[in-house]
Symmetry: C2
Subunit: 338 residues, 2 copies
Amino acid sequence: MKRMISLAGIVGMLLCGVVTAAEDRPLAIAIHGGAGTIEKSKMTAEREKAYRAKLEEALAKGYAILEAGGTSLAAVTTAINVLEDSPLFNAGRGAVYTYDGTHELDASIMDGRTRQAGAVAGVSRIANPIDLAQMVMEKSPFVMLAGEGAEEFARAQGMAMVENSVFDTEHRRRQLDEAKQKLDRKGGDQASVNALPVPYRMGTVGAVALDREGNIAAGTSTGGMTAKRYGRIGDSPVIGAGTFADNDSCAVSATGHGEYFIRFSVAADICARVQYQGKTVREAAETVINDVLKPVGGTGGVIVLDAQGNVALVFNTAGMYRGSRTSSQPASVAIFGE
Amino acid sequence: MKRMISLAGIVGMLLCGVVTAAEDRPLAIAIHGGAGTIEKSKMTAEREKAYRAKLEEALAKGYAILEAGGTSLAAVTTAINVLEDSPLFNAGRGAVYTYDGTHELDASIMDGRTRQAGAVAGVSRIANPIDLAQMVMEKSPFVMLAGEGAEEFARAQGMAMVENSVFDTEHRRRQLDEAKQKLDRKGGDQASVNALPVPYRMGTVGAVALDREGNIAAGTSTGGMTAKRYGRIGDSPVIGAGTFADNDSCAVSATGHGEYFIRFSVAADICARVQYQGKTVREAAETVINDVLKPVGGTGGVIVLDAQGNVALVFNTAGMYRGSRTSSQPASVAIFGE
């Protein structure tokens, strides 16, 4: 009897030890809903409230997954789903219009534990492109699928198709009309797409997370650039540009002028500086966003975290819809620059 | 008179000095035509001769551009055009077949001086995809265009369209038939695409070059993977994965199992190690190809050079069609491992 109690005690102590150790491990999540010239003067109190509420909801749902012992991948997709399902952001429901008046969505996801990744580009009938990106990662031998082929894969996997018109919204249609007027005034020169104000190409959403197992993950989802043409693919579905995750360095989701983020391999470069130069995620992100991108005109921002739970939200624009929560910092959301 | 002669002499000396200095600057080009299980025992003498001749031609034409004072970008596209126009390689004329019996080609190019880049994915009517990638870089505000949209852009720029059937070849059709039989025996499981022997997904071509101005560039062109489906995009059109160039670090063109090259940001990672760890191009390439990729099953190779003219041709497969020439090393081409 004595021996049994003793054994039970030891087992109990061991279990307690394990539970405490696991609870001691840091958890973290960060999200973004696009970076750009978000001016407080042009934002109504009501609109600001709606944005904050949606960011808080995404953060809370993602963090709840982590607290319940879920994976960083699940936290990332859960948070992104909330933002995709809201018409406030340029992803899923609120996706901008292409030049031809349709919607083409891109997304990617990466698992920092295995460096497995999945990405879809130019899909038009998938309600939550981040879910399809995850399916590509988990159910195919491929990393990146595009267009109708990606949808054929989705159908083969039993994913529901939606009409492209479910992404129609009044305010995005108005942005397209304005964008096309601006383009036409410039003789339809595609180069002038670059000259469009940032709001016409902002609102990409993304998330990075760290789970109890110490694994990090990153995901990004977008409707791309208003009035985009020619099957343009931005940085969001490009692993190493808009999304990157490696337990040994960091997890990044980016938002901004995608062409610059591809050319400067922004997500991979931030993590390379962490890994090879020993920089903190904040130092690496600030260097790339402010010292590398800004001087050449590359506008945007990133959310970054590492496997120790350090988080950095960095942007070179007036504002970035963003939020974070860690096991040592309460939830906070913000829109404008500090 | 004395003064004039003296002036002419000084001018002459200055000109000589300039010319000599320019001639002293290193020139370099390296090319590849795919990496894989190229076994000497299965290669006829005639076939080997044909491969060597085509590699030598690409190298000679690319190097001639550099010697004439042309840009590294021009040398890269010229060398790649030679390989695209040959049915021996899986790019342009010799592109493999998709599962559906068509051809979908990918290419990308990057300018190390400006970090400008251009890429096309899944084009089916462009004879030389590397030329369209360059056009995207130089004539559009975009970096990456896909599918019919990319072809619409090509047409708008006046580029000639070809029938998809120009890429038909007997030996690639046979490879498709064999690949589909293998797939069918495995119940059509797409995962078994990964199990296909390397020859079914090899033959991507690429080039890197250093010009007299000290600028480096990289380009890659491919027909992708035999029997690919679902609009699969490999690493070749992904900047940072299959192609990368930055004067401050290095230029890389990759060939191999594309999914691994995307997940491990191979081209950008090699250059990050050069830039942040002070590694030579050879050390960085060998670490990534042999120590990072090989243990996880990522087969393939890279050609790399830096702005000082150091060249490395590194692969973890039995062979890689390859060649290089620099101002200090005569032209050499090779196929098998040493």
